[in-house]
């Protein structure tokens, strides 16, 4: 197998192929009759997935270096290149994306009824955008893709969304736009500061990272700009209010992608850019207090607000705020376990919350409402759906043996050392998570079957099982045997942590850091 892949030069073209296939696919989708669109889209996303799968094995474990790396000139006069490459963290994100997309297409199969061609084309364009963000090693390219992704999502929400889709779509757009524009200024500032210092004007990630010392006292502002852009995307409390609206109004597949992948871009941005670029700023006591504080507030706040949501999708949306709080806590704790845990949560939140949104979609497809109060006693009518919903909810709650637990546990145990109090508060999140999801579960699948509309709903169809089965498999796999994932990210996380700590020591030795050594 590896030999075969070597022969066809897999490693050289795989990332390019991943970026190109969906675009070509999108054109293909636009050119076929509406009835065929979903089949073509499914085919394209499956091909995409199959192309990406060997990455899992050809990826070299144990090195933090960027792999599959190569570059083509784009606007060379400005030091802008098409530069791609992945490390362990991006690898997982890429695979999560390629796995989610075929499911997203399948999940839209009957849900989307009009304007099929553009819908699937947009999904495919979105795929390229998301993958591009995860593989880009050029800040210009990163920024462009980061923004470009907004458009397909904006249309997906705005055209195929629910009743308040207009408001949700523009809110989503402007919110994200606000953060990212400031990041644009920051990227430019770094570009010039580094360029002025070194004489080499380039947007290359490595180049900027190596010479980031040139930004000097501007570090805080630049970090702030990056952090704001990412924090909005994450979304961190209190920048989260776009999320419930977007999630609720978006069509199922868009919700899945939003929760599963788009949110991860924020945390990915922190891991890839904000932290390595500005270690001393990021780890400045004040910043730490703010970030960890907001993360912890987000965990508890998200959970509490989720608890009282009447709308199931909104509930899941707020639960994302809570889960992503764990990720932020883990990243900022900056220990091996916590960062690895954060990345595991990024993956497993994608899977579990993705599945929850699929289920929410399936429920609303059947009942044309997402109000929790409209359901009740469904376990009797649709036992299969109820089982899956239970399993997924449990994984979201973080029941040991499921993916949710592994990530949360690692984050908490890793964060305990640096921030015991914050971790203790964060750990209460596990209680609240159980509260909101079990309550919702009870009101949906348990309790009296007292609404006549609910009495004759069809159980999961084969297609729906096909959507959910891979997610369930991942839930258990990551829950029971996360080692392969951990192996793949270990070197990257270790590298990240040492870089941050070294640079933090070398760039600006704060008086506080000496005290923390013992």
């Amino acid at each position: 197998m590896t030999e075969f892949l070597g022969n066809i030069g897999y490693n050289n073209w795989v990332l390019d192929a991943l970026l190109v296939i969906p675009l070509v696919g999108a054109l293909a989708v636009l050119s076929v009759p509406a009835g065929e669109a979903k089949k073509v889209a499914l085919g394209v996303t499956l091909v995409e997935f199959l192309v990406s799968v060997p990455l899992w094995w050809t990826f070299q474990i144990g090195t933090a270096a960027m792999q599959f790396q190569h570059a083509y000139p784009w606007i060379p006069g400005w030091g802008i290149y098409y530069r791609v490459g992945i490390d362990g963290i991006s690898l997982l994100m890429v695979l999560l994306t390629t796995l989610t997309m075929p499911l997203a297409v399948l999940g839209s199969w009957n849900y989307i009824k009009d304007k099929l061609c553009p819908y699937y084309a947009l999904l495919l364009v979105l795929t390229t955008g998301m993958l591009g963000v995860f593989v880009a090693l050029d800040l210009f390219m990163f920024y462009v893709l980061w923004e470009v992704m907004l458009i397909p999502m904006y249309f997906l929400i705005g055209v195929w969304g629910g009743p308040r889709r207009l408001y949700a779509a523009i809110k989503f757009f402007i919110y994200t736009f606000v953060g990212s524009l400031l990041m644009l200024v920051a990227i430019l500032a770094i570009y010039y500061m580094v360029g002025d210092a070194t004489g080499v004007y380039s947007f290359a990630y490595d180049h900027l990272l190596e010479n980031i010392g040139a930004v000097g006292s501007w570090g805080f502002w630049l970090f702030g700009a990056f952090a704001l852009a990412f924090a909005i995307k994450v979304p961190m409390f209190p920048f989260h209010t776009w999320l419930p609206d977007a999630h609720v109004e978006a069509p199922t597949a868009a919700s899945v992608i939003l929760a599963g992948i788009l949110l991860k871009m924020g945390t990915y941005g922190f891991l890839r850019f904000a932290l390595p670029f500005f270690p001393s700023e990021a780890m400045h006591p004040t910043v730490v207090t703010i970030v960890v504080g907001l993360a912890v507030i987000g965990i508890v706040y998200g959970a509490l607000v989720a608890m009282v949501q009447p709308d199931f999708k909104k509930l899941v949306a707020y639960s994302s705020v809570s889960h992503l709080g764990f990720v932020m806590l883990g990243i900022w704790a900056l220990t091996q376990a916590s960062v690895a845990g954060a990345i595991i949560i990024m993956v497993s939140h994608g899977i579990s919350t993705g599945a929850l949104f699929f289920l929410a979609g399936m429920l609303s497809e059947r009942r044309h409402t997402r109000e929790i109060a409209a359901f009740g006693g469904l376990a009797k009518v649709v036992p299969g759906l109820a089982v899956v919903l239970t399993v997924v909810a449990l994984s979201s709650i973080g029941l040991p043996g499921t993916n949710g637990f592994v990530g949360e546990f690692l984050v908490l145990i890793g964060s305990w050392g640096p921030y015991p109090w914050a971790t203790a508060v964060a750990a209460t999140g596990v209680i609240f998570a159980a509260a909101y999801l079990l309550w919702a579960l009870q009101r949906i699948i348990y309790n009296k079957l007292d609404k006549p509309e609910n009495e004759h709903l069809p159980d999961l169809s084969k297609r729906e099982i096909l959507v959910l089965a891979p997610l369930l498999a991942c839930i258990l796999w990551i829950g029971l045997y996360p080692k392969p994932l951990l192996d793949r990210i270990e070197a990257s996380t270790e590298h990240l942590i040492t870089t941050v700590q070294e640079q933090r020591a070398s760039v600006a030795p704060t008086p506080g850091s000496e005290e923390q050594v013992p």
Partner: protein, 657 residues
């Protein structure tokens, strides 16, 4: 390592396979009941057999060291290494036998009890799953693996309490159980973090080995750890203040109550303390807290049990109370004693629950036949059941004697063992005398309320309706059979750990020595003169007899009225019947305020109002408003435009020059 010990993974896997098979059947072909019974019971019997073989293998072994069987690396990051590993040692062996044995019996019983239920396959699937997690809990070789089982049993408890999910009360009860457990699990988590930080590991063997160096006796860290562990244990084992879920958990099918909420799962907290005995031994203050929590719970729950009318509620509070005893035991350093009571309690409490289940089953069938909607669990609707159910009647009395502490039966020895140690600790600190006294009073109450239960249920005239009486009958043999086995256990389990004054004493204590010896050096040796020991036994006997006699004298089953005609309770009786209003207090102080605050303050005010309304939409609105003002300034009149122009000119020229 003995060969048979290596088979231990089968004990874990078999129930899980049973779960998968039954789960599949429940989704695909729910009417295949015989296959379900065969699989459900079969895997348990097989698991029990393997467990026996494992323990037999272990008992032949002379090394005494625990066997840790590692299967795969679960979470390995940086310094953290958690393996998916099982640990077979003396403590887990005892638990393994009890869990698989009692489970097997209850599975058999369930075949009869649940036979008419449409959710039959689902029931067995959940029950199998429960056994899987329970076995994992007792066999886990590290805190996290144990935690998997720990949360897993909570899950199964949730699923089974809410088994008849169409009724909101049941679903509520399941959710409550899970949440209360989670509150406890929070403590478990914190304990794990602290332990990992202090010792760098979470595997039992490594942690306990490192403990003497890693912690200072009565130090801050160890006290925190044990407090956190206690919180975890209190959640799972229904101790104050997290006990309220257990009585509600009676909403599940009765065999579930017997298995999960009496014999096995709820004892996990005791197991946890016993497992971590060295940690608790190094934190004497925490041990006293454990003992106090246990004693207070024992007494408090017993008072509530006095006035309950629901037969299962009586047993539920009784369970809470008995669990308090176990905590008292492990809290005073009688780890073997605590485990011993756990074992005997598993027998007689399972028996009591199953017996009551048998009664309920009979009553339920009768009501079903006459289409009556009376409460099949209310003792006021029972009475005189001995006529109809002689076997049940007999074995229930056996269990009652056992729990009340009639000498010779298992409960007498196990309870006495704990109280004796508590009394002996009085030498070290007088507070233990107080705890002992509370235990004794609780024993008195236990004898009283159990006798009350028996009197109202089986004695006196039947208060069941005339029409129904014709339908009352003894349960089938699949149900009475397990009862008889459990009755034998309730009688004879006492020999496992006889007091020192009797021949062949302390077998269990000796057996558990390899596990508990870690903590020996932190506890003073217990010294009780033989005479004192005899005296204590005499006191215990007197208490038991007094309690039972008191009940017989004071209670008049013949005067009791059926539930429908019964007058409302008043005064302290009502307070007891309402369980000291603890549920209501929790509801008013914690649950409602939290939900109210979340909905009105956090969500509607802060999230929708402040963040989204004032900040996000507010800034958009402000920008637009400014725009409208600007737009209004654009009046269309040239004079005004010229004026603006000239003002701009002046400002600009001023700026330039």
């Amino acid at each position: 390592m003995p060969t048979s010990v290596g088979w231990v993974w089968l004990v874990v896997v078999l129930p899980f396979l049973g779960f998968l098979a039954n789960g599949l059947i429940s989704l695909v072909k729910p009417q295949a009941k015989s296959a379900v019974s065969f699989i459900g019971v079969g895997v348990l019997v097989a698991a029990f057999a393997v467990a026996v073989a494992v323990v037999a293998g272990l008992s032949q072994d002379q090394q005494g060291a625990p066997y840790v069987l590692t299967y795969w690396s679960w979470m390995t990051v940086g310094g953290l290494e958690i393996a998916a590993a099982l640990q077979v040692d003396q403590l887990s062996a005892v638990m393994l036998i009890v869990v698989t044995g009692v489970s097997a019996l209850i599975h058999v019983f369930s075949v009869g009890y649940m036979r008419d239920d449409p959710g039959y396959p689902r029931y067995f699937a959940f029950l199998n799953l429960f056994v899987f997690f329970m076995v994992l809990l007792v066999l886990g070789a590290s805190f996290p693996v144990m935690f998997v089982g720990w949360e897993g049993v909570g899950l199964c408890s949730y699923l089974l309490i809410g088994f008849w999910y169409l009724d909101k009360v049941n679903a509520d009860a399941g959710k409550k159980a899970f949440l209360m457990n989670r509150i406890g699990d929070f403590g478990f988590l914190i304990a794990m973090f602290l332990i990992f930080q202090a010792t760098g590991s979470l595997a039992f063997t490594e942690v306990f080995e490192a403990a003497p160096e890693a912690f200072t006796i009565n130090g801050e860290i160890i006290t925190l750890i044990t407090w956190a562990l206690l919180r975890g244990g209190a959640g799972k084992s229904a101790q104050i203040p997290l006990y309220t879920w257990l009585p509600d958990a009676m909403a599940g099918p009765t065999p579930v109550s017997a298995l999960i909420h009496a014999a096995t799962m709820v004892t996990a907290g005791v197991y946890l303390v016993a497992r971590s005995n060295i940690l608790f031994a190094m934190a004497p203050v925490s041990s006293v807290v454990v003992a106090t929590v246990g004693a207070v719970t024992a007494l408090f729950a017993a008072t509530i049990a006095l006035k309950q009318w629901d037969i299962k509620k009586v047993l539920a509070y009784s369970t809470v109370s008995q669990l308090g005893y176990m905590f008292l035991g492990v809290g005073v350093g009688a780890y073997a004693g605590g485990i011993f009571h756990l074992v005997t309690h598993a027998f007689f409490k399972a028996l009591l629950f199953l017996g009551s289940g048998s009664v309920i089953f009979a009553l339920h069938r009768a009501y079903h036949a006459t289409h009556s909607h009376d409460d099949a669990q209310d003792m006021r609707n029972m009475g005189g059941m001995r006529k109809f159910m002689p076997w049940t009647f007999a074995v229930m009395w056996v269990a009652t004697f056992a729990i009340a502490g009639i000498p010779g039966l298992s409960g007498f020895f196990s309870k006495d063992g704990i109280l004796a140690v508590a009394f002996a600790r009085g030498h070290d600190h007088p507070v233990f005398y107080l705890l002992w006294l509370m235990g004794v009073i609780a024993a008195l109450l236990t004898a009283f309320y159990m006798t009350r239960l028996m009197l109202y249920t089986f004695h006196g005239p039947s208060r069941t309706g005339e029409g129904e009486q014709r339908h009352l009958a003894e349960a089938p043999w699949v149900m009475t059979g397990p009862l008889v086995v459990l009755a034998l256990g309730s009688i004879f389990a006492g020999v496992l750990n006889l007091p020192h004054v009797l021949p062949n004493p302390g077998w269990l204590e000796h057996w558990l020595e390899p596990v508990t010896e870690l903590s020996h050096r932190y506890w003073n040796e217990v010294h009780l003169a033989a005479s004192t020991e005899w005296l204590l036994m005499a006191v215990a006997t007197a208490i038991a007899v007094a309690g039972m006699a008191g009940a017989v004298i004071m209670l008049k089953p013949e005067k009791l009225k059926a539930a429908k005609e019964a007058p409302a309770e008043t005064g302290i009786q009502k307070v007891l019947l309402k369980k000291w209003y603890v549920d209501e207090i929790y509801d008013a102080l914690i649950v409602r305020p939290t939900v109210w605050m979340s909905r009105n303050v956090l969500w509607k005010f802060f999230d929708a109002g402040v963040i989204d309304g004032a900040m996000v939409n507010g800034s958009a609105w402000t920008a637009r408003a400014v725009g409208f003002v600007g737009s209004a300034v654009q009046t269309g009149r040239l004079a005004w435009y010229l004026l603006v122009f000239v003002i701009g000119t002046l400002v600009l020229l001023r700026a330039v020059m």
